[in-house]
């Protein structure tokens, strides 16, 4: 019996692998910006040779991991208050913006074929509208042929910044939704099936006829899923695309927002997309691994400088230069390297 050899081999392996102790930069959190972070990380690896590992586990999970300091940085779609951040020794800054779109899986319905407003979308997600041929839906879409099918509601099962922004918007425009469901990253949904992450929701909608979901636009486009248009606060029908997201972002006043604590949902403007979202990075001011923290900042600096066109390709909106310079001067300076 080669027991001795097995034992010895195990020991040698254990010792030799521990030799390399240096930490890679690893991040975890929101799935909303995951496509662009992964794309940046891939390009950055090719450009600089340094790896940045990002896992889309949900905003809630990302925040818990950064509080436990098991990752170098966290991604989150929910801006936190200064008090919350200070208590945990964290700082936050906006990294990129994008938009949430409703997606549907109905035969013969393509992208932008349907239009919804906050009221009907809220009623669907609070369980009030149950079928596709409901009067409220046919009134909005007189030309579309809506089937006599039950609406299969798909929502998130995990703590999600996408859900936070989605419910923030619906609560702002739909009283009934506000009372029944409310705003939060995880709410007690009265209806529906839970999917994990933006990808889980997209996947479920793709697999289920007659379903509706909400995801970041990149997830809908990559997947060929039919997104809908929305009626915005000005009463205009808008398509989810770079220009309408940008219109909403333009109205945002980052200069006044304390600790960048700003939600972009339901911004005014005739061509503004109502569910525009800024997504944030959270990092500790005093990292256990200063080397990793410095490496992470280098990556973000690179992404701000070189990531703009990649972001546009995936329909994300880069942060305006004024915000970037404020991030660098006011936030990054607090991080000990």
């Amino acid at each position: 019996m080669n027991l001795k050899t097995v034992l010895a081999a195990g020991l040698v392996a254990a010792v030799s692998f521990t030799a390399a102790l240096a930490k890679d930069v690893s991040g975890a959190g929101a799935t909303f910006p995951a496509p662009i972070y992964l794309k940046w990380a891939d390009a950055y690896k090719k450009a600089s040779g340094s790896a940045v590992n990002y896992q889309g586990v949900g905003s809630g999970a990302g925040r818990k991991q950064i509080e436990a300091r098991t990752v170098t940085f966290a991604g989150s779609d929910i801006p936190q208050t200064g008090e919350w951040l200070d208590k945990r020794g964290l700082v936050q800054w906006p990294m990129v913006m994008g938009g949430i779109v409703p997606i549907v899986n109905l035969e013969g319905v393509g992208a932008s074929d349907l239009v919804l407003d906050g009221q009907t979308l809220g009623d669907i997600y609070s369980g009030k509208i149950k079928r596709w041929n409901d009067a409220a839906l046919t009134a909005l879409n007189p030309k579309a042929k809506l089937p006599d099918l039950p609406i299969i509601v798909i929502r998130r099962s995990d703590g999600s910044g996408t859900t936070y922004n989605f419910t923030y918007y619906l609560s702002a425009v739909n009283e009934d939704f506000k009372k029944k469901v409310g705003t939060g990253e995880a709410v007690e949904w009265p209806v529906g099936i839970g999917g994990k992450g933006n990808d889980g929701v997209a996947n479920n909608v793709m697999q289920t006829k007659g379903s509706i979901g909400y995801v970041e636009l990149a997830f809908a486009i990559q997947n060929g899923l039919a997104y809908t248009d929305m009626i915005n606060s000005a009463g205009k029908r808008v398509k989810p695309k770079f220009e309408s997201f940008q219109a909403a972002a333009q109205n945002a006043d980052w200069a006044k927002a304390d600790h960048f604590n700003l939600v972009l949902a339901n911004q005014p403007g005739a061509s503004a997309w109502p569910m525009t979202v800024a997504t944030f990075i959270l990092m500790p001011t005093e990292s256990d691994d200063a080397e990793a923290a410095a490496a992470a900042l280098k990556f973000f600096d690179w992404a701000y400088a070189n990531g703009g066109s990649m972001a546009k390709d995936l329909d994300y909106i880069p942060m305006p230069d004024s915000v970037v310079s404020k991030v660098k001067s006011a936030v990054w300076s607090q991080i000990k390297k």
Binding site: V6, G10, F17, K39, A41, Q55, A202, M206, A218
Partner: protein, 280 residues
């Protein structure tokens, strides 16, 4: 006559149902294998084994880093778990065979053997990941080791108990110390059986996902460090199959095919080893 006919009829019906049950039972296996082959085989190329996992929105890429991660953690998990399991099984069968604590330990081992693997993940998260403040391949390997131990304890004990006592008595009568009797006589006689147990342990952990979710985490890039998060085939399948990205989904199916074939092959090898043992 009518009584005989009705007895015959009920017997025939019952046996037909048993045959049907068996057919359906086997059909499941082939259905699952068939859909894995259908979805995974067309893209089982050389690149899958040589290239890293791709980011979303691109074509190509492979599964090199998760395959390596799975191999590394499986080897380490077995490297840690199997020796402990073999030694514990040795105690139960050799030294403590008539001890009062042995049935208790055996019972506890059986409980561990069937403990939900997600709970083992929670346990390792609490005692390794949180104090080290880092997801790591080490934590993943330890979680897998905890799963291997009871499998190996069980088979080692069973196999050692099958070794005839006359062999041990003969060796002892020649003046060999007990540890030598165990090493040179009992282990030698039970060798294939113990190896079968280790192989079954490998097969069990190679496809485990739940205990790795909060321990090894995952990694988009290559890592061979024990102290960093690492990708593994099951966790990569779990995240890729849930993406809308067609290329990544395709890789998930291919990965699923690889993992399943590897695990089934291990099971078959273990069975062949175990089978020859029984006949000899």
């Amino acid at each position: 006559m009518s009584l005989y006919a009705s007895r015959r009829r009920s017997n025939l019906t019952a046996m037909a149902l048993c045959l049907l049950a068996t057919t359906i039972g086997i059909v499941w296996l082939f259905l699952i294998l068939f859909s894995l082959l259908l979805n995974g085989l067309p893209h089982l190329t050389f690149e899958v084994f040589t290239e890293m996992t791709p980011p979303p929105g691109e074509t190509g890429g492979g599964l090199l880093n998760p395959i390596f991660g799975t191999l590394m953690m499986t080897v380490l998990g077995v490297g840690i778990g199997a020796p402990i399991g073999i030694l514990a099984g040795t105690y139960l069968a050799e030294y403590g065979r008539y001890s009062k604590t042995t049935p208790t330990i055996r019972f506890i081992n059986d409980i561990l053997l069937s403990a939900p693997s997600i709970i083992i993940g929670l346990f390792i998260y609490g005692i390794v990941v949180v104090p080290m403040k880092n997801f790591s391949a080490l934590a993943g390997s330890l979680a897998l080791a905890v799963i291997v131990i009871p499998v190996v304890v069980r088979t080692t004990e069973d196999m050692l108990l099958l070794v005839p006592n006359t062999l041990r008595e003969a060796a002892s009568a020649m003046g060999l110390p007990r540890s030598h009797v165990v090493w040179h006589v009992a282990y030698r006689a039970a060798r294939t059986g113990i190896l079968t147990g280790v192989l079954l342990g490998v097969a069990r952990i190679a496809g485990e996902t739940a205990p790795l979710l909060f321990t090894a985490f995952s990694n988009n890039f290559w890592s061979a460090s024990l102290m960093k998060p690492i990708a593994s085939l099951p966790t990569t399948i779990n995240s890729f199959i849930n993406t809308p990205d067609a290329n990544m989904k395709q890789l998930a199916w291919t990965g699923a095919l690889i993992v399943t074939l590897a695990v089934l092959a291990l099971n078959i090898v273990a069975r062949i080893l175990g089978g020859t043992k029984k006949q000899s």
